[in-house]
Assembly symmetry: C2
Homo-oligomer: 392 residues x 2
DNA sequence: ATGAAAGCGCTAACAA
DNA sequence: TTGTTAGCGCTTTCAT
C-alpha cells in the first residue's frame, strides 16, 4: 500500500489535499461511498499559509485526533501517549488552529482595544495597562487605531464582532456617534474607557476630569495668577466639557472665597474660554486669539497636552514665557521635564485606566453577572516651573 | 406544527440551540435517525457573544443558505431574492461570521503588525503607514506590542499563525533571536521592517541607517565641533551597529580629508563610543559617563530619539547646553521645536517604512511570486539650533 | 439562478 | 482513558 505509506508521511497541505478523498474515505467508517460533490476549498493559493492539522499529528503518533486535542487542552491522557503526541507535534511543527477552535468553542482568546489616536501617548500608555492586565488571563490584545473616525471605528467594531473576539475595550471616537448597540445586542462583553458613549449600557472607566481641572485651576490662583483663561477641547466632547466645568467650579469658588479679587470672575467670560480641537495646531490658534484680546489673560489652563504644546508655541512667538505667563497642561507630555521652563501638568491615570478596564472586561468575559459599573480614577497635579507664579 | 412555526421566527442562539435537533433533522434529508451523540457546544456561556447565522437569514428570506452566502459574496442571485435576503439580514442584524469564513476559505482579511515599543513615536508613525496602505485592499491591521521581548513576540507570532492571519509585518524585537521560521515553513507572508532578522528569507524594508548617521556626523564636523562622541544602542542590534558604522565612516573620511585636525580621530576611541539601551534612562547614564571623561567631548551623536532626550537631561544637569555642546538626534522627537534650544535631528521615514512594508505584504498575499526584495529608505537631516556650532 | 451537501480543523458528548 | 462522531458557520461544487 505504497500510496498510503506516502500519505502517512505527508505533512504539507498540497499533498494532503490531493489524497484527502482516499484517506478520509479509508479512515471514516460508514462512508465508503465517495462524496456526491467535491466541495473541498480550492487549491492552495500562492502566498497563503499552510498548516499541519490535528489529524496529521494523530496519524503520526498513532492515536485519535481527540487524544491530540486532549493533550493540548489538559484532558486525561496517559503520559506515554501524551509524550508521543507531543513529539509528533513538534516534529510536524503543529500549532492548533485557533480559527477552528474558536468556531467550535464559540469563544476566542483575543480582546480588541480600540483607541482614537495611536500617536497620543495617553492612549499608548493605556494600551500597556490593558496588555499587562490581559496577560494575567492569557488573553491577547489586538490594537485598532480608529483615528477619531467614527466610520473607521465602526469597521473595527464589526471586525471584533465578526472575528468573535472575546470582548472589546473602546475609547470611543465620538461620545454621541459611537454605536455599541450591535455588540450589546450580541452580548459581546464591552468596556468603555476614557469616554462614556451615549446611550450604551456597558461598564465604564473614566478619569475624574472635573476634579482634576478644578484642582489645576485652583493651583493657578494659588500661585498668584488672577486673569485666567481656559483652552478646552471640542464642544460636546465629554472630556472637554468636564474639564471646563471643573475650571468654572474653581473660579466660582475662588471668587466666593475672595470677594476682594473682583477681576478673577472675568475668567468665566466667554472670550476667556476657547474651544479648540485637542490638537497642537488648534491650541496654537486659540492661544493667539487669547493673546490678542484687549485684556489678555496672565495664565492659561489647557485641557489637553497637545493643545498645551500649541499654546507654548504661540507664547514663544509673542515673546512671552512661563512662568510670567502661567501655563498648565491637563495631561502629561513625555518630555515635560525637558521643555524650558518645565511644564506643570495634571497627570492622567492612563495606564491604570487601561489596567482597570481590562480587569473589568475579564470579569464580564468569565461570566460575572454583576451590575454595571462606572469606575472613576483620580488625576495627580504635578506643579513645575511653568506655574511658579507671575512674579517668579 | 406550532413548534416549527416558533422555530422559523427564532433568532437568538438560545432558542435555536434547543431546537436544532429538530430543525436540522427536518431540514436535512436522509438523516431522519437522530444523532448518536449530542456533540453540540455547551449552552451559551455568560458573557459570550450571540450571533445570527446565515441559516437564520435564509429561513427568514425563504431561500437556501447558499443563496445568502452568494448575496454577501457577489455571487449570481436575482435582484428580487437578493433584496429579500438583504432585508432579512438587516432585520436580524446579521453579520457574516469571519471565523467560519476563514476556516472554510483558509484565509483571513487581517494582517498582524508586531512592533517592539508602542510608546515610541517612530513605531506609531510606522503603524499609520501600514494602516493607510492596508486600507486600500480592505485589509484590517491589528497591532501587537512585543515590548522588545522575544518571548512576547513569539507568542504573538504563534497567534498570528494560529489565527490564520493573512500576513504579518514585524519589526523584530531582536535581530538574532527573533524566529520567523515557523511562519516561513507555513508559507505565511511576512515582511520585516526596520530590522532584518537573521537567517530569514523574507522581504525587508529598512532605513538607510549608515548613510543617515554618516551625514549627521559629517554635519557636526561642518558646524565646527571637533571632539565628537557617539551614543549608540545595544550591541548586536542592527540599527545600533549600522548607525555606529556610519558615524565611524564619517569620522574616518573627515580625518583623511583634514590631516591637520589631529584630534578629530579621537572620536573613534573606545571611551567616546557608548552602548546604551535606546531608552531615556540609558542615554542619560551614558551621557553622564561621557561628560565625566578626562577629556570630554564637545558634541554627541545620539543613535535614537529617546537616548537623545536622556542626553539632554544629563547636559542640563551638568550646566551645559546646546549649541555650545552639540547634540544631534537620530530620529525625530514630536516636540523637537519646543525643546530649547531646538533639537537637530535625522528624520526617519517611519511612515513610509510602514506604507512600503504593507504594500509589499499585499503583493505577497495576493500571490506575487517575485524574488525577495530589500527596500532601503533614506533619512533626512533637519539641522536646528542644537548643532549651530560651538561658537554660536 | 438555486439548492443540497460536504468539509475547513477543532472540541466535546457519549460509548466502549 | 480512548475513539467515534457530530457539528460550530461558512463557501463551493455539482446537479438541477
Amino acid at each position: 500500500m505504497p500510496g498510503r505509506v506516502d500519505h502517512l508521511k505527508s505533512i504539507s497541505r498540497e499533498r494532503r489535499v490531493r489524497l484527502t478523498g482516499v484517506s478520509r474515505g479509508a479512515t471514516r467508517s460508514g462512508k465508503e461511498a465517495g462524496p456526491r460533490a467535491d466541495t473541498r476549498p480550492g487549491a492552495q493559493r500562492a502566498g497563503a499559509a499552510v498548516a499541519t492539522t490535528i489529524h496529521d499529528v494523530a496519524r503520526a503518533a498513532g492515536v485519535s485526533p481527540a487524544t491530540v486535542s486532549r493533550v493540548f487542552n489538559g484532558g486525561r491522557v496517559t503520559a506515554e501517549r501524551a509524550e508521543r503526541v507531543r513529539t509528533a507535534a513538534t516534529e510536524l511543527g503543529f500549532a492548533p488552529n485557533r480559527v477552528a477552535r474558536s468556531l467550535r468553542t464559540q469563544r476566542a482568546s483575543v480582546i480588541g482595544l480600540l483607541i482614537p489616536d495611536i500617536e497620543n501617548p495617553f492612549f499608548t500608555a493605556m494600551a500597556r495597562g490593558v496588555e499587562d492586565a490581559a496577560q494575567q488571563t492569557n488573553l491577547s490584545v489586538v490594537l485598532c487605531n480608529t483615528d477619531e473616525d467614527v466610520a473607521k471605528e465602526r469597521r473595527y467594531l464589526e471586525i471584533a464582532l465578526a472575528e468573535q473576539m472575546a470582548g472589546v475595550i473602546v475609547a470611543a471616537a465620538s461620545r454621541s456617534r459611537t454605536d455599541l448597540s450591535a455588540l450589546e445586542s450580541r452580548k459581546m462583553p464591552v468596556v468603555a474607557v476614557d469616554r462614556r458613549p451615549r446611550g450604551s449600557t456597558v461598564d465604564v472607566v473614566l478619569v475624574d476630569n472635573a476634579h482634576g481641572a478644578e484642582e489645576a485651576t485652583w493651583h493657578l490662583f494659588e500661585r498668584g495668577y488672577r486673569r485666567l483663561a481656559c483652552l478646552t477641547g471640542p464642544e460636546g466632547a465629554s472630556t472637554s466639557e468636564e474639564r471646563l466645568a471643573g475650571y468654572r467650579t474653581a473660579v466660582r469658588d475662588f471668587v466666593r472665597e475672595n470677594p476682594t479679587e473682583t477681576r478673577a470672575a472675568e475668567a468665566l467670560r466667554e472670550e476667556r474660554i476657547r474651544y479648540a480641537d485637542f490638537r497642537v495646531e488648534g491650541g496654537h490658534r486659540a492661544m493667539r486669539e487669547l493673546l490678542a484680546l484687549p485684556e489678555p489673560p496672565d495664565a492659561v489652563f489647557a485641557a489637553n497636552n497637545l493643545m498645551a504644546v500649541g499654546a507654548l508655541q504661540a507664547l514663544a512667538e509673542a515673546g512671552l514665557a512661563a512662568p510670567g505667563f502661567g501655563v498648565l497642561s491637563f495631561g502629561e507630555i513625555p518630555w515635560a521635564p525637558l521643555v524650558r521652563p518645565s511644564l506643570s501638568t495634571v497627570r492622567l491615570p492612563s495606564y491604570d485606566l487601561g489596567f482597570t478596564a481590562a480587569t473589568l472586561l475579564q470579569e464580564r468575559i468569565s461570566g460575572g453577572e454583576r451590575p454595571l459599573q462606572t469606575v472613576v480614577l483620580r488625576t495627580e497635579l504635578h506643579a513645575r516651573e511653568s506655574t511658579a507664579g507671575p512674579g517668579a
